[in-house]
Subunit: 131 residues, 2 copies
Amino acid sequence: MASGRRRIRRKRAEFVGQPAELGALLADLRTAKGFTLREVEEATDKAVSNAYLSQLENGRIKKPSPNVLHSLANVYAVPYEALMEKAGYLLPSENGGGQRNRLAAFAIDDLTAEEEEQLLKYLAFLRSRSS
Amino acid sequence: MASGRRRIRRKRAEFVGQPAELGALLADLRTAKGFTLREVEEATDKAVSNAYLSQLENGRIKKPSPNVLHSLANVYAVPYEALMEKAGYLLPSENGGGQRNRLAAFAIDDLTAEEEEQLLKYLAFLRSRSS
DNA sequence: AGAACGCGCTTGAGTTATCAAGCAGTATGA
DNA sequence: TCATACTGCTTGATAACTCAAGCGCGTTCT
């Protein structure tokens, strides 16, 4: 099954970006931090193999063990619960209703001034679009 | 390997009752409430089959999905996290390091989860472009 | 050029979770 | 007595997770 591996090339112009699935989120977190697959494997102390992470990021694995998510949350400095929720696991409090657990507390601590500016700009753009 | 199927007969006499396995705990919870396997299956709205619950209680299944534990926690009226922990999953707080590095340069506190994701995605995009 | 690396990714195999179906045992009622 | 209906339990099949090994591609030496 060859699979036409489609190169995902994001255009800045139309940046539609939906809520994204777990895999995409993990991929974004990793590239944002500038890690390689194997670096993450190391950082998790071999708890998450590079091969596995690849499959995760490409959506081939839908529900990794919470422990895997825990490891990754550590590496990416992002709240564990956020990943759990994205993976489709119920949260302790998430009972019946629909409760809003915030995703990443934007755990990017090493933003450059320039990046920050662009992000803010982009946020402004986003918000201007929301009706 | 023939397997000498060992009947697990719990003794009531010496009740050292310590860490106990998840299975034993679930079994105790159920009998304490006087439910049958099928009643629990019903109570969880078929989320947990009686067959599965049986295997769980007898320790044949070690790490059920968190969602299963959530259902059972509901039925038995015990805290979800307790079951999670018994199942060997790390809890949100169970973290040694506690690195909360979130430098507030980008201190946007009113971000919606969706906005955060899109920003992250955009940042990943930005950084992947810079050579 | 070629060697040597690092990158993401695939694949094969082993383990585990999960369910539908059905089994043996024990009541209870006709 | 037989039938019916429970009880917990087993089993076979399928799907999902997970890893070790290795592949192909692009860089970067030498």
